[in-house]
């Protein structure tokens, strides 16, 4: 042990700093290098897992992905089974979810970051938000299942003859004719909004926090009100950040199945919400859109779950599930690419 001696260090000791001159250090450096390689290995293993995952899915789908897969409904025969209902279901679900969660989420974030004072109520809201973000999505499903359908029925009875709200007569007519199902697009979207709201709010808060205070001060100094400042300065400046966060949350809603399973969406669907099966129909019969929120539906991840669980000795539904996964991943990739483009463009335009 040349290293340790507690004594006084008088007398010249000749030392060599040349690498490898001390066997003990050589050993320590070797350990250090092994450790680095171990860390590198596990890090790159994630890349390997990703590659294996994608390859195994492609291999399982084995050419099952085709135009007819995208344009057919569910079928008992795996060779004729398609994902059309899930595609439309996911589309409407995500559209409504975004419609609910973006205004509410961004609004909450604006209130919490720009308006709220540090009172006990605000502290409760903040602590609560971080805890809500950790609640398993299936628990939101229970809430949707138990609370939203009765809520809808209550709303419907509010609009029917007995408790007529005449101002909203138009809605009354619309709603009277509709049954309210478990697992309608509207209930699904309400549930899914609750699932993603905490992440939307937290991401928006972070984006708002990144806007320098000088912008607010400058705007207020020019005589703008608090809200004018937010609307004209702060929100536009934080928009890229908010958009990125929102898009990532939306992509979570696209892949999430557990809360939908809970509220009882269809696992086997041979119809699309509102009977709209093609974009052309959307143009020719736009009135049907009004029926969409109240219709039953299925979503891509739910269908994939169902196909994966099909008892199937010849693995023919496996191929269907794999093809469904490829479609789902392609949709997610598109959405995430949008987020990346927003981030990239914002990075070029905005520099504080």
């Amino acid at each position: 042990m040349s290293v340790v001696s507690g004594g006084v260090t008088d007398g010249v000791v000749s030392v060599s700093f040349t690498a490898g001159s001390d066997s003990q250090i050589r050993q320590r450096l070797r350990l250090s290098r092994y450790f680095m390689w171990l860390c590198r290995l596990v890090t790159y293993a994630s890349l390997g897992v990703l590659a294996v995952l994608l390859l195994s899915i492609m291999w399982n789908s084995a050419g099952r992905l085709s135009w007819s897969f995208l344009s057919s409904h569910y079928s008992m025969h795996p060779d004729r089974c398609g994902i059309l209902a899930g595609l439309w279901g996911t589309f409407w679900l995500v559209l409504l979810t975004a419609g609910f969660s973006i205004p509410i989420g961004v609004g909450s974030a604006v209130y919490l970051e720009e308006m709220a004072k540090d009172t006990w109520l605000m502290r409760v809201i903040r602590v609560n938000l971080s805890n809500l973000a950790g609640v398993p999505s299936i628990v939101y499903g229970i809430l949707g299942l138990t609370a939203f359908r009765p809520l809808m029925i209550q709303l419907q009875s509010l609009f029917d003859g007995r408790h007529a709200v005449n101002v909203l007569g138009m809605f009354r007519l619309r709603l009277l004719k509709l049954d309210i199902y478990d697992g309608s697009v509207l209930i699904g979207a309400m549930t899914m909004s609750l699932v993603i709201l905490p992440t939307v709010i937290i991401a928006s808060q972070e984006a708002l926090r990144a806007v320098p205070a000088s912008i607010r001060v400058a705007s207020l100094a020019l005589g703008a009100t608090r809200w004018q400042t937010i609307w004209r300065q702060v929100l536009p400046a934080s928009l890229p950040g908010i958009a990125t966060g929102v898009i990532l949350s939306i992509s979570r809603a696209i892949g999430e199945a557990a809360p939908l399973m809970m509220i009882g969406v269809l696992t086997v669907a041979s119809m699309c919400p509102g009977g709209l099966e093609s974009p052309g129909q959307l143009l020719s019969e736009p009135g049907r859109v009004l029926a969409v929120p109240f219709d039953q539906f299925t979503a891509m991840p739910v269908e994939i779950y169902d196909w994966s669980k099909q008892p199937d000795p010849e693995d023919r539904f496996t191929a269907v599930a794999a093809a469904g996964i490829l479609v789902l991943l392609a949709v997610l990739l598109t959405v995430n690419a949008a987020a990346m483009i927003v981030r990239y463009r914002a990075g070029r335009q905005l520099r504080w």
């Binding site: 290995l41 890090t43 994630s46 990703l50 709220a116 628990v139 557990a258």
Partner: protein, 346 residues
């Protein structure tokens, strides 16, 4: 410009006309409930209205929590009205001590949470065994070793891994990991593995939460001051000494918090587990056999067509409240540890 101003004034005036009563009401409530951002009073009525609307948005999250708790309690513990809650029909004693879970209506039903609990914990533990070394290794690598460019490449890979839907992982476990990895592996050892098994479910859940551990731990490792690293280097440390003896111990509580958060995520993970672990609530510790987790049971029960107030259906709420309390406790603990960690370095 001029006409625009006029319109603005008109709009503002009409807003005042429409909302004057409402506004007075709101500003009164507001002065009690919500202190204004600046201490001055906001005079414009529509600003007050906007504030109020945004406040309602923000308060919605509290309402959500309250609604979740109410729904769980009113169905599991005590139901107001003519309904009877789960624990009004099944004793808490049976729920906590019985080792059988057979949630059928009528005779022969058993409601002991243990099979679901062991199934859940088994999957979460296997997931931790996978994700803790992998996540921590990746965090150390990215914060201590990786070049900035390498990091820019690795981070998105982990984000992609985190962004892949749960059902996809379930499929991967059931159709790839079990038949192509585990079956041959345990075949060599002469062990039988079921098609549905906790091991494959645990492995994929571990893969799913690895990015979470990696990114949270990397954040806390980066929060360790540079001065501490330099001091360690100046004492003749190798990189391993600095990482393993100074940086990781210094960040340990934050890293622990990330482990806890990942564990709670694994407990609440649903679809991958429902696909890969199967639906048979067995009280077993053998990861090569199938089991049912709490989340798996809930998916299963909600898909059933028994009546809404049947005991089999109500059992879902009892399991739900157990899951909620478990994850909430772990999350709160994790948050508390993380806050204490941040106090040390900020």
């Amino acid at each position: 410009m001029y006409s625009g101003l006029e319109v603005d004034q008109q709009w503002s005036a009409s807003c005042q006309l429409l909302l004057v009563r409402l506004g007075f009401g709101l500003s009164f409530v507001e002065s009690v409930l919500m202190p204004t951002w600046a201490s001055q009073r906001i005079h414009r009525r529509h600003e007050t209205l906007i504030r109020w609307v945004l406040f309602v948005c923000a308060a919605l999250s509290v309402l959500t929590t309250a609604a979740i708790i109410y729904v769980l309690l009113s169905n599991a513990v005590y139901a107001p009205g003519e309904k009877t809650a789960f624990f009004e029909r099944v004793s808490l004693w049976q729920f906590l001590t019985s080792g059988r879970w057979k949630p059928t209506d009528g005779a022969g039903a058993h409601f002991g949470i243990w099979p679901l609990l062991t199934g859940t914990l088994q999957v979460a533990l296997i997931a931790s065994l996978v994700s803790i070394p992998a996540g921590l290794g990746a965090a150390v690598y990215m914060s201590e070793y990786a070049q900035p460019r390498e990091r820019e490449f690795l981070k998105p890979v982990l984000e992609i891994l985190a962004g892949i839907p749960s059902v996809v992982y379930g499929f991967f476990a059931l159709k790839f990991i079990t038949p192509w990895v585990l079956k041959p592996l345990f075949g060599l050892l002469g062990l039988e593995i079921s098609i549905f098994n906790s091991l494959s479910a645990g492995i994929v859940v571990g893969i799913m939460v690895t990015p979470l551990i990696a990114s949270l731990s990397e954040d806390v490792i980066r929060a360790v001051p540079r001065s501490l690293r330099e001091a360690a280097y100046a004492l003749g440390s190798t990189r391993f000494d600095v990482s393993a003896r100074v940086v990781v111990p210094a960040a340990l509580s934050g890293i622990l918090a990330s482990f806890l958060l990942a564990f709670s995520r694994a407990v609440g993970e649903t679809m991958a587990v429902a696909i890969a672990a199967g639906g048979n609530p067995l009280l077993t510790l053998n990861p090569l056999r199938g089991s049912q987790t709490m989340t798996g049971f809930m998916v299963h029960a909600s898909a059933g067509d028994s009546a809404a107030d049947s005991i089999s259906r109500m059992s879902m709420y009892a399991v739900g409240i157990t899951l909620f309390v478990m994850t909430l406790t772990i999350n709160l603990l994790s948050g508390w540890i993380m806050r204490r960690y941040r106090e040390v370095y900020q």
